[in-house]
């Protein structure tokens, strides 16, 4: 399989497709069951955010290698309204969708590395990585 | 620690009926409800406090804020149904002189 593949997010079904892709790649890379579930959930959250707030965007799953370690990278991009206050969005307890504990802080906890670039009117790009231990 | 807020709009009049207590816990909810309403142009608002058993200074703060907001948009605010204790509160703080406090009490005295 190539080292990266992409899913366009436009309908709720696309979220499922992104999850599936992520789980397959995670399995291929040799992640254990729990980590597979965590990665898939992270993808699910990010794809869902795109679907709800930006209407459309895409999720790219990459296999990455660094100093002998394998890892999985999620890149979620959209041209939506962007996040006005990133600090607020990364705070525990703050949720615009009424969910409990999920959101960006939740995704950050599921993965090993987390990076976000977003500003009002300029869309959002989130990169999250998990390494095989 | 509980408050019930009912808003009814008819003709040009905004009727707000309150029940329960207005204190530090419930005042924010009251403010959240009344403030957006107070920012409309030339609002005519009547707030009925007949069923308000207790109000402390935080409640006062909400009403003053709402009053100022309504006034700045050329509207009118009237408070009715105040118990003796509530009237006293408005009188001591001097608010009874600048706000329309009309106690239409139907024998509801403390």
């Amino acid at each position: 399989m190539e080292n990266q593949s992409c899913v366009n997010i436009q309908t709720e079904w696309d979220i499922v497709a992104a999850r599936q892709l992520g789980r397959n790649v995670a399995k291929e890379l040799g992640f254990g069951i729990v980590d597979q579930a965590r990665i898939t959930t992270a993808i699910s959250e990010l794809a869902r955010n795109i679907f709800i707030y930006a209407n459309k965007g895409r999720v790219r799953i990459e296999k990455i290698y660094d100093k002998g370690h394998a890892g999985l990278r999620i890149v979620a991009i959209d041209n939506g309204p962007g996040i006005n206050d990133i600090r607020l969005a990364m705070e525990d307890g703050y949720s615009t969708s009424g969910g409990l504990g999920a959101g960006l802080p939740g995704v950050k906890r599921l993965m090993d590395e987390f990076d976000i670039v977003s500003s009002k009117g300029k869309g959002t790009e989130i990169v999250a990585t998990k390494w095989i231990r | 620690m509980n408050i019930k807020i009912e808003v009814m709009e008819h003709d040009n009049l905004l009727e707000v009926k309150l029940a329960g207590e207005i204190d530090a816990y419930t005042a924010p909810k009251l403010r959240e409800t009344l403030f957006p309403l107070s920012e409309q142009e030339q609002v005519n608002m009547v707030v009925d406090l007949t069923d308000v058993g207790y109000m402390d200074s935080t409640g006062l703060g909400v009403f003053v804020g709402v009053f100022k907001s309504i006034r700045s948009k050329d509207g009118e605010l009237k408070l009715i149904g105040l118990s003796k204790r509530l009237i006293r509160l408005f009188e001591i703080t001097g608010l009874a002189e600048i706000m329309d406090i009309n106690s239409q009490n139907e024998g509801e005295e403390e």
């Binding site: 579930a37 525990d92 409990l100 939740g106 | 530090a24 200074s57 006062l60 608010l95």
Partner: protein, 336 residues
């Protein structure tokens, strides 16, 4: 040995034991295991994965449907893991906030502290207790060179931290008003303009300001919407309300305040308070004004400080030791 390394062995042990015999003692060991895992940040999904793995080991012929059921359970429990971790994080934040508030409350105490003046012929007592950590009531005594003591008592509408921050601002405003402008009505007018300008539009302040000229024993005062205090006539042994009309500070910058004067005779008392005193509530309803005055009568022969301390204790007990609002009480007795 780190918990995670022994975790698997421990859980295998507990699971096998319990399947063999459903004893209460195994359940108890399970509970201890649970506490240990939580302490070590083991997530719900990890427990389920462990459970499934061990079960498959013990029962290699475990039906497919059981295996699948665990997989979906794991995914669902991930959500609970989210919530749990957020909860932990919020709890830690709350702990931090609380200690910050305690520090702030201590700083406030230090900054706003005021000494009770010691003046010949007068006995002054004062007490101020916050309902929460920070005090929204404020009182201040100032002695000047003209044989006058000024007394200010104020209450910021609203409670907690915002109110207390407001108080600090008032104290500094008061400290910087020059002595020749400290006539009660003038002071309130000046302060009103400062407050209107600087304070958040949702905050309001009630204040009573008085000046006691202890050469002539005349008490002049003005009030900005503050709870009226009481005057005790030593000869007639009667209480009357110290009535002074005025709008709260911060509402209208053009507000004017009326000044009143009262002659104070030996044996007379001036009682100033915040609404935390008059708004005392018990299960039966509000503590009436008469009750408060009766308490004062009860302790009338004590020193001013003893009177305020005792009244506080009595009213605190009446309210089941739960203050609803910041409580401030000041008593000035003219000695006989």
């Amino acid at each position: 040995m780190p918990f995670r390394e022994v975790m698997e062995a421990k859980y295998r042990d507990i699971l096998t034991k319990y399947i063999k015999e459903q004893s209460e003692s195994t359940l108890y060991i399970g509970q201890k295991f649970s506490r240990k895992s939580i302490e070590n940040q083991v997530t719900p999904e990890e427990i389920i994965s462990l459970h499934k793995m061990i079960l498959q080991e013990i029962y290699p012929d475990m039906p497919e449907y059981v295996v699948h059921s665990f997989d979906i359970l794991l995914e669902i429990m991930l959500g609970y893991g989210f919530a749990y971790r957020e909860h932990q994080s919020l709890r830690n934040q709350q702990k931090e906030l609380r200690s910050e508030i305690e520090i702030a409350a201590n700083v406030q105490q230090t900054l706003l502290e005021t000494k009770i003046p010691s003046v010949e012929g007068l006995d002054i007592g004062a007490i101020s207790v916050p309902a929460r950590l920070m005090n929204g009531d404020y009182y201040n005594f100032v002695e000047d060179e003209n044989d006058c003591i000024s007394i200010a008592i104020a209450d910021v509408i609203g409670k907690g931290i915002p109110a207390a921050l407001c108080m600090s601002m008032i104290k500094y405003a008061m400290d910087s008003i020059p002595a020749n402008r400290n006539e009660p009505s003038m002071l309130l007018e000046n302060l009103n303009r400062v407050v209107e300008q600087n304070v958040d539009p949702s905050m309001f302040i009630t204040m009573f300001y008085g000046m006691y000229d202890y050469a002539r024993h005349v008490f002049s005062y003005a009030s900005a919407g503050h709870e009226p205090g009481f005057y005790y006539d030593g000869k007639k042994r009667e209480f009357s309300e110290i009535y002074a009309k005025g709008l709260m500070l911060g509402i209208d910058k053009k507000t004017k305040y009326r000044q009143y004067e009262k002659n104070i005779h030996p044996g007379d008392m001036i009682i100033l308070l915040s609404d935390g005193v008059t708004e005392c509530r018990t299960d039966e309803g509000f503590v009436e004004k008469e009750t408060l005055l009766n308490y004062i009568r009860k302790y009338i022969h004590c020193s001013a400080q003893e009177i305020v301390n005792n009244i506080f204790k009595d009213l605190e007990k009446l309210q089941d030791f739960q203050l609803r609002d910041d409580f401030t009480l000041i008593i000035i007795k003219r000695r006989v």
